[in-house]
C-alpha cells in the first residue's frame, strides 16, 4: 500500500472513529421522538400528541421526576383500562392505568439516578391501539420535569 493510500485510510479511520464516539451521546437526541404524531391542540391551550402502540421520547438526564399527562380516549379491550407501560433506558419504571378513557391522568414518576449520557430515553408501550387510517395509542400532554 502506498503512503498516500495509507494516509487516506488513516484519515477515514480517524473520522469514522470520531463520528462513532460523537454518536454515543448525541446532543440532539433530546429532539428525537418515535411513534408520536404531530402536536395538536384541543381545547385551545391543551396541547397533546397521539402515540402509536409504542412511542419513545427523551428527557434531560438531570431530571429527577417527570409528570406525564396521559389520556386513553378509546377504551381498552373488554372494558378493561388501557395500561401504558413506561420504561427508562429499557428498564421498567411504571404501569399507568387509564380506567376512565375520557379523563387525563397525570402521574408523577421518579426517574432513576443520572447515567452517563445527556438524555434518558422514555419508552411507552400501550396495551391496545386503535387502527384505521392511522394508528392511535394514547394522547400524551406536555411533560413537566422536576
Amino acid at each position: 500500500m502506498s503512503r498516500t493510500r495509507l494516509l487516506r485510510a488513516g484519515i477515514v479511520f480517524v473520522l469514522l472513529g470520531a463520528a462513532v464516539a460523537y454518536l454515543h451521546d448525541p446532543p440532539w437526541a433530546g429532539q428525537i421522538t418515535s411513534g408520536m404524531r404531530d402536536w395538536e391542540e384541543d381545547p385551545p391551550g391543551m396541547r397533546f400528541r397521539w402515540t402509536a402502540g409504542r412511542a419513545s421520547f427523551f428527557v434531560p438526564a438531570n431530571a429527577t421526576s417527570m409528570t406525564l399527562p396521559l389520556r386513553a380516549v378509546f377504551p381498552g379491550k373488554d372494558g378493561n383500562p388501557v395500561v401504558v407501560r413506561v420504561s427508562v433506558d429499557d428498564r421498567w419504571l411504571a404501569d399507568v392505568a387509564l380506567p376512565d378513557s375520557s379523563a387525563w391522568v397525570r402521574p408523577t414518576l421518579p426517574l432513576p439516578r443520572r447515567g452517563t449520557r445527556r438524555f434518558r430515553r422514555i419508552d411507552l408501550h400501550i396495551n391496545r391501539a386503535v387502527v384505521g387510517a392511522f394508528v392511535l395509542g394514547v394522547m400524551t400532554g406536555e411533560i413537566s420535569l422536576q
Binding site: 462513532v20 454518536l23 454515543h24 451521546d25 448525541p26 437526541a29 428525537i32 418515535s34 411513534g35 402509536a52 402502540g53 409504542r54 419513545s56 433506558d89 449520557r117 438524555f119 430515553r121 419508552d123 408501550h125 400501550i126 391496545r128 391501539a129 386503535v130 387502527v131 384505521g132 387510517a133 392511522f134 394508528v135 395509542g137
Partner: protein, 427 residues
Amino acid sequence: MVSRIEHHAVAIIATIAVAAYCWVYTRPDADPPIRSDGYNYYLYAASWVVYHDATLEAVANDWNGGAYADFAGMIRWPGTGRWINRIPIGVSVLMLPFVVSAHLLSGWSNLPKDGFSFYYQHAAGLAGLLYFIAGLWLVRNTLRRHFQPSVSLVTLVVLTFGTDLFHYGVNEPTFSHAFSFALVAALLALCDRFWSPAGWSTRHSIALGLVAGLIVLVRHTNVVLLLLLPMWRLDAWRLLPARRRDLGVAAIAAATIVAPQLVYYHWATGSWFVNAYAVHGVHFTLMSPHLAGALVSTQRGLFFWSPVLLCAVPGIVFARGWVLDIRAGALIVLGINAWIIASWSEWQYGAAFGHRAFIDCFPILAMFLAEGFAWLMDHPRLVPTTAIAITLATALSVAQMIQYWHHIWPTRDITWDQYRALFLTFR
C-alpha cells in the same frame, strides 16, 4: 474539460442529491422517508432485523395493537389467517446492510431500537439514494464504453434532472424505483459483457443471476426486462445453447435469491405463486391498455412530464453501430414493459410525480437518449435549437418536481385545465 466534468459527473450529482435530501428531510413539515408504499417495501427489513420475525406479526403487535393501518393494505390471507404484504421482499433485501447498521447505531446512541426511529428512517432513505447513485454510475460506465464523454455527460444530466428519476432517488427513496433503476443498469452492463467476445467468467454468471433474481424480487412484473439478455442482438437467441453453462449458473443464483419470496408466499397463502394485489381489486387489463394515458396524457404521461425523453426518438430512428445491434431487442422489451405498465388497472400508479413505473427501464432508454444526442452532435445546424429545447425541458422538469415537493400538483387525474392553471406556480 468536458471529459473531466464527465469523469466526476456522478460524484457531482451525488453531492447535489445529498444536499437535496438534507433539504427535503429537514423542512418543518417533512414527512419521514418511510411512508406510503415505502412502508410496505421496508416492513420486511424492520421485521427481520429488529424483531427477528418473518411473519410480520411482531411489528403489528408492537406498533399497532396487532393490526396494520389502512394505508398499508396489509391483509390476513383468507384460509391461513397469516399476514400478506402486497409488495415483495426485494427492496428490504437490498436495504438490509443499511438497516442492520441503523439497528447497531440505535443501540450505540441509545435511540429506540424500534425499526422506525431516526436512524432506521434515514438508513432506508439513504439506501434508496445510494442505489440511485449506483445506478447512475453503472449507466455512466456503459455509456462510456460506447459514446464520447460529452454524450455521456449530457445523457446523465438529462436522465437525472429531465425526468422523475431524481425525485424518486431523493424525495421518495424508499419506493422501489431507485432500487430497480440500479438493478436494471447492472443488468444492462452484464448483458453488454455477456455478448462481448471475451471476458466472461463464472463470477459474472453468478452476478447476472443475482441481479436477475433481485429484479424479480423488487417488482415481479419487471421479469419482462430479463428478456433483454436473449434479445440483446437479433441473432443472440441462436447463440444461447452454446452458453448453457453460464446460463445454468445464473439460473441457480437467481433461483437461490428468489426462493425466500416463494417460501414466504407458500407459508402465508398455501400457494407458491401469488398475486397479492388481487385482493385489493387491482388487476391487469392486457387487452385494453391505457397507452395514451401512460405515455402522453396530462395525468401521468411519461413524455408529457419528461418531454426531454423524446430525444431518444432520433437515437432509435437513426441508430448506428452498437445501438443498432441492440435496438430491436431493446425496443421489444421496452414495448412489452410499456404495455404491461399501461395495462395495470391503476395505470397512474397512485400519487406520483411523472410516471414512476417507467423509471425502472430508464437505463435502457438512456442508451437511445445517448444515441439521439450523438446523432444531434453530428448535425451541427440542429445543435443550437435542440440545446435550448433540451435545457428548457430539463429546467421545466426540475421546476415541476419542486412544485410537486410543495404539494402544488394534485396527486392524480391532473387535467389540462389544472395543468395550465398551476403551470410554474409555486404557492
